[in-house]
């Protein structure tokens, strides 16, 4: 199908060589994707589509509703008694047959595939139910009875490092797992001599570019050789393969990992399937059957993976005219509950490029790695870049503002000069190529900065809130596998030996009829790598892309791979693509030698084209590619003496520029460094406070574009993800550690309706370090767009601190100031102040025609409590002041069964009491306390109550929109029923708990009291 019509000539990235001339190289042309036909017909082969072995069982995972708790007991008997349930795995089961995951830091922060003894975040896996199908497995999961002892929690990293903070991993001694200080040049001197110091504190929030396909694992324990055969949509890096094998206590060769042909997106996230690969492997071993697990969206949004949130204090030493002479960073990066390999990658991935696009020779940096009670952080597209550039590019705007300069002038004044590439940054990165000035000139010229300025001027004259933002980004491609060792002090690095490089491998085969096939060390995620590889290989062999057959499934027992394998850190263009080029070149050279012998010429005289191999000097002297290559299979006797028969070559690429960190902590963190310059205009809607992107221009220099159509696809995708981080997506935890963004109704992925058009531009300064001249380009806008929009909002509203994501309610609070008091006679809405520091607080009062003594009696009598507690089925007395109850609670149709513990304390007879307790059930858990006071009012009594409740688990993460109101309704019921019982034996109708909205009236009706 690849022919002239299959070249997209409508791409904005249309380039000179994008012509329908078949003699032109395929690399550089917008060849349409070979992947598409199958995907468009529903014939993709994703992990959940692939046939499973006979006898496969299905898993569901029981997850913690607590952010931090000790596991007190686990009763699996009810689940095991359910027909169709085969096994239930617990932390204690897997502890006996596996080891904790290896981590990068030498710290005692053990994480197993299932929680052992303690849970540290909401959603942490605590048990696995294995059943005949997923439906029954979920039924079983609801029947696993886990009791927890809640522990104090810490969510905010600033609080986590305080000496009195609860410590997540007691053996580590602190939540601050690593503090490293770095100095390059003479930052102290530069700051001392500076005209001015400009400083800023920024916080990058938690988000995840959640792919549409969730995790899938099919694990099969093979008893015959004590090995594991696993199919999973893992994305790499394969440096994690040894981590999994070690946890399973087998050598790497006995963990066969197979990656299917298609994957429904990854964006870094599908690294984090690895703990589940181990978990389901163990499940298969224990069950004695293959086990399949398909993560659902609830599981994904609460426990799959998040980017780390980072608090950065940044300072610039500046001259009078805005030249930055030094930067100083204090980075505090929050990795959540565990430090999974390869964390803390995001804190170090950009290390060499910390000074961004600027020629700044003095740099001081403190890097802190912190743990908190949130889901573990891991790979997310951008990987450290968004966090870094939020600080750097917000600061550059502040420099301009504080010096009264134009922000773009300040950017230009500090850029690395054109002509100074390759350029070594002070922290050790070796920027391969670029012309930042040209890129910015073209973007502001062709991209019409004057138009943006005119729009702003007009808007401001009309009183509208309009701002312009800029951002420059140096975009790394293909990470140096040694960058993470920078976290270790020099002495430790010397002891351990150097770590560096990023090995890429591609294999090209030519079969007996001349058909070319390729396998590669990457994982498919949708980028169109097969199309790009087919272009590269076709060019080397004088064929068309359609002549090249490509299989990008990966099998660790049969394919060539290194620890760098996978698709991440934009390693395709600078890495795997080069290995494909090298492998094809080797084939070309060998075929040239074979042909030279047959065509009676020399190899140097051989050329390839149009499916033929021929003599350059006499093109008629040639033969079909298939005929020449067939020789290697059919006629070894005709092979040149120096060559072995067969035609199979592996291209291995490990660029020399990726050196280990130096003794001065200088590190070339990546091989290629692209450039992005963004500018945008935004307007804030005065009614909704929603940020609307009016125009967005994004200029890219990614070296040579292998396929402009694919390149632009990556940029468009990254742009919308960057936009999402700026305006929509956030993983939200409340103060009690409950996750509140558990569905796609709470975690707001932008749709087409939220996405503005983006104007893309390109220049090309080919990389001298890669044979194809291509650089990585798929992450740039994840790095540039959040801060570009933040800068525009700051400009629109004259803000110094711009909270991300910039949501309407946040801007409303910033723009509108304090709310005026309500009109006379109207009560203000309940405020959180006073009662409790819980997430949900409130108060109320009920007046009842009963004496304090009657009310007191009702409160202390289990039989009365049965009627007071909404939806109560039974009450048993644990101790005189402690009751346990089985209750059904809910609002409207939503109903769940819970076990409630109610404790009475601070008893002042007939005057006051504190009720505290907790609820647990499949829908979630709640903890709270309330204080009740009784005041006689003539023959009646006024009951005043205040309460604070924290709600966690499923109901908090999926019902965020309604949960607070629902809690208020249920609590209101409790006190109204208390009033009811006390005033003379009204039955609280224990089977229904949805009186709520009506309750004010029914209580009045029944009791004659007034509210």
């Amino acid at each position: 199908m690849t022919n002239d019509a299959d070249i997209n000539t409508h791409s904005n990235a249309k380039l000179e060589r994008d012509t329908p001339d078949n003699s032109a190289p395929w690399v550089g042309r917008s060849v349409l994707r070979r992947e598409d036909a199958a995907l468009l017909m529903g014939a993709g082969r994703y992990a959940d589509d692939v046939a499973t072995p006979r006898g496969t069982l299905y898993a569901a995972i029981v997850r913690s509703p607590h952010a931090h708790a000790l596991i007190k007991s686990m009763d699996t008997s009810k689940a095991l008694a359910l027909p169709g349930v085969h096994h239930v795995l617990t932390g204690e089961d897997i502890r006996a047959i596996s080891d904790p995951f290896l981590i990068v830091l030498k710290k005692p922060i053990d994480q197993w595939a299932l929680a052992v003894e303690r849970v540290r975040y909401v959603g942490e896996a605590v048990a696995v139910v294995i059943a005949e199908d997923r439906y029954i497995a979920e039924d079983g999961a609801d029947l696993v009875d886990v009791t927890y002892d809640p522990l104090p929690i810490v969510i905010n990293p600033r609080e986590a490092v305080r000496p009195d903070a609860p410590v997540l991993h007691p053996d580590a001694g602190s939540n601050e797992l690593s503090v490293r200080e770095f100095t390059y040049g003479e930052p102290d001197k530069a700051f001392a001599e500076a005209h001015k110091t400009v400083s800023l504190e920024v916080e990058y929030p938690r988000s995840t570019y959640t792919p549409m396909e969730c995790f899938v694992v099919v694990a099969n324990y093979l008893r015959g050789d004590d090995s594991y055969d696993v199919l999973a949509n893992f994305q790499g890096p394969f440096s994690i393969h040894p981590v999994m094998a070690r946890s399973l206590r087998v050598p790497g060769t006995r963990l066969r990992l197979r990656i299917p042909a298609d994957s429904g997106g990854s964006f870094g996230i599908k690294l984090s399937v690895f703990p589940y690969i181990v978990l389901m492997s163990l499940a298969s071993r224990i069950a004695g059957r293959p086990v399949k697990w398909v993560e659902d969206r609830l599981e994904h949004l609460q426990a799959a993976n998040s980017g780390p949130n980072r608090v950065t204090k940044i300072e610039a030493a500046v001259t009078e005219n805005g030249r930055v002479t030094a930067l100083r960073f204090d980075n505090m990066e929050d990795y959540g509950a565990y430090l999974r390999a390869p964390m803390p990658g995001p804190l170090y991935r950009m290390h060499g490029a910390t000074t961004g696009a600027y020629d700044i020779r003095n740099l001081a940096m403190t890097n802190r790695v912190v743990v908190t009670n949130k889901m573990p952080a891991a790979l997310v597209r951008g990987f450290g870049g968004p966090q870094l550039y939020l600080a750097v590019e917000r600061l550059m705007q502040r420099v301009a503002i504080e010096l009264g300069l134009d922000p773009l002038d300040v950017i230009r004044r500090n850029l690395i000069p054109a002509g100074s590439f390759p350029y070594r940054t002070c922290a050790g990165a070796l920027y391969d190529s670029g012309d930042y000035q040209q890129a910015i000139d073209k973007a502001t010229g062709d991209g019409r900065l004057d138009d943006l300025l005119a729009r702003r001027e007009k808007a401001r004259k009309e009183g509208r809130m309009y701002g312009i933002g800029f951002a420059t980004v140096v975009e790394p491609g293909m990470s140096n596998m040694g960058y993470l060792s920078t976290i270790n002090p020099v002495e430790m690095r010397e002891r351990q030996g150097p770590k560096n490089g990023a090995v890429s491998m591609v294999k090209v085969n030519v079969d007996a009829v001349g058909t070319v096939s390729v396998t590669a060390d990457l994982t498919v995620q949708g980028q169109g790598h097969a199309t790009a590889i087919s272009q590269i290989v076709a060019d080397r062999l004088g064929l068309t892309p359609d002549d090249i057959s490509i299989n990008l499934e990966l099998d660790t027992q049969k394919d060539t791979w290194s620890i760098a394998a996978g698709t991440y850190s934009c390693r395709f263009s600078p890495g795997t693509a080069v290995a494909a080029h090298i492998a094809a070149q080797r084939i070309r050279e060998k075929v040239a030698r074979i042909a030279a012998k047959q065509l009676n010429t020399v190899a140097d005289d051989i050329d390839f084209g149009g499916g033929r191999v021929f003599s350059k000097s006499n093109p008629d002297n040639g033969a079909a590619f298939a005929r020449i290559t067939g020789t290697a299979h059919w006629s070894p006797v005709l092979m040149p003496e120096s060559d072995e028969p067969g035609l199979s070559e592996t291209g291995i690429w490990s660029p020399p520029e990726l050196e280990p960190p130096s003794s001065k902590d200088e590190i070339n963190t990546s091989l290629t460094y692209g450039f992005v310059f963004d500018m945008c205009g935004v307007e804030i809607d005065p009614v909704t406070m929603q940020v609307r992107v009016d125009r967005y221009v994004s200029m890219h220099d990614a070296g040579t574009l292998i396929n402009p159509l694919l390149a632009e696809g990556q940029i468009h995708g990254a742009f919308v993800q960057g936009l999402a981080s700026a305006l929509y997506e956030e993983i939200v935890y409340d103060e009690a550690g409950a996750l509140q963004s558990g569905t796609f109704a709470e975690y707001l992925v932008p749709t087409a309706c939220e996405v503005p058009p983006v104007e893309l531009m390109h220049i090309e300064t080919p990389s001298p370090f890669t044979p194809l001249g291509a650089k990585g380009l798929a992450e740039g806008n994840c790095m540039s767009t959040p801060v570009c929009i933040a800068n525009a909002v700051a400009d629109a509203l004259s803000l110094k601190d711009v909270p991300l994501p910039v949501t309407p309610q946040r801007l409303n609070a910033l723009v509108c100031g304090a709310e005026a008091a309500p009109p006379a006679g109207m009560a203000a809405a309940p405020s959180k102040a006073g009662a409790s520091d819980a997430a949900i607080t409130g108060d109320g009062s009920v007046t009842v025609q009963a004496s304090p003594a009657d009310i007191w009696k009702a409160l202390l009598d289990p039989e009365s409590l049965k009627h007071i507690i909404p939806g109560c089925h039974s009450v048993s007395t644990v101790t005189p002041d402690h009751y346990r109850a089985e209750v059904s609670l809910g609002v409207g149709p939503i109903r769940g069964r819970f076990t409630a513990n109610v404790k009475l304390s601070d008893l002042e007879a007939e005057r006051a009491a504190t009720l505290s307790g907790d609820l647990t059930g499949p829908l979630g858990k709640a903890q709270g306390s309330g204080h009740v006071t009784l005041t006689p009012e003539g023959e009646a009594t006024r009951i005043d109550y205040t309460y604070g409740v924290d709600i966690g688990g499923k109901v908090a993460s999926v019902g965020g929109r309604m949960i607070k109101r629902a809690a208020q309704i249920v609590i209101g019921q409790f006190f109204e029923r208390l009033a009811g019982i006390a005033s003379g034996g009204h039955d609280g109708n224990p089977d229904t708990a949805d009186a709520s909205g009506k309750s004010g009236s029914w209580i009045s009706r029944l009791l004659g009291g007034k509210k």
């Binding site: 299959d6 017909m41 949708g526 159509l709 696809g713 995708g717 569905t743 796609f744 109704a745």
Partner: protein, 173 residues
């Protein structure tokens, strides 16, 4: 009255892409699971199972709907069209499919089937939509890869192509 009790397995028949097929289902089996596991139609994907992402969109009696918000037993006797029915072979892609390819309107392809099914319904009822109408319908889907740019272009072009205003070039040889 049809009653399927808890735990009971019943035979469900439906007209799938023009052919009558049948399979076993329990009362609670979702249509997505029935299509994928019982009928082997894995082109319909599961993205969220709460009706937001649109990956599982199919046509029920011609009308686009989320198959995760429907029970298999509800589809009994109905006409169900899925992505597998759109083209007989890779050389016979329909106008929408061709435009998707031409404009790079898909990357990982996971959300693609649902979007194709939504627009095969929508464009049949609204052959001449403007961009805002298309964007609103596309707003019922989440795509994480493409940024929607290629999707918008592809759908607008396919609509024009289907109206016959512009001759079809995409993918033709």
């Amino acid at each position: 009255m049809r009653e399927v009790t808890t735990g009971e397995t019943v035979r469900i028949s439906l007209e799938l892409n023009g052919k009558t097929v049948s399979g076993n289902a329990t009362s609670r089996m979702l249509l997505t699971d029935f299509l994928r596991s019982e009928l082997g139609q894995t082109g319909t994907h599961v993205g969220c199972e709460h009706g937001v992402c649109g990956c599982c969109t199919v046509r029920i009696d011609g009308v686009a709907a989320r198959s995760c918000l429907m029970l298999a037993v509800q589809a009994d006797g109905r006409r169900v069209d899925t992505v597998e029915g759109l083209a007989a072979s890779k050389d016979a892609l329909n106008a929408l499919q061709r435009a998707f390819r031409k404009h790079h309107a898909l990357q990982c392809g996971f959300c693609t089937a649902g979007i194709l099914m939504s627009f095969s319904d929508f464009l049949s009822r609204n052959p001449n939509p403007d961009e805002d109408e298309v964007r609103e319908v596309l707003g019922g889907h989440i795509c994480r890869c493409t940024g929607y740019d290629g999707l918008m272009k592809a759908i607008m072009e396919a609509a024009a192509d289907m109206r016959g205003k512009t001759p079809s070039h995409a993918g033709a040889t």
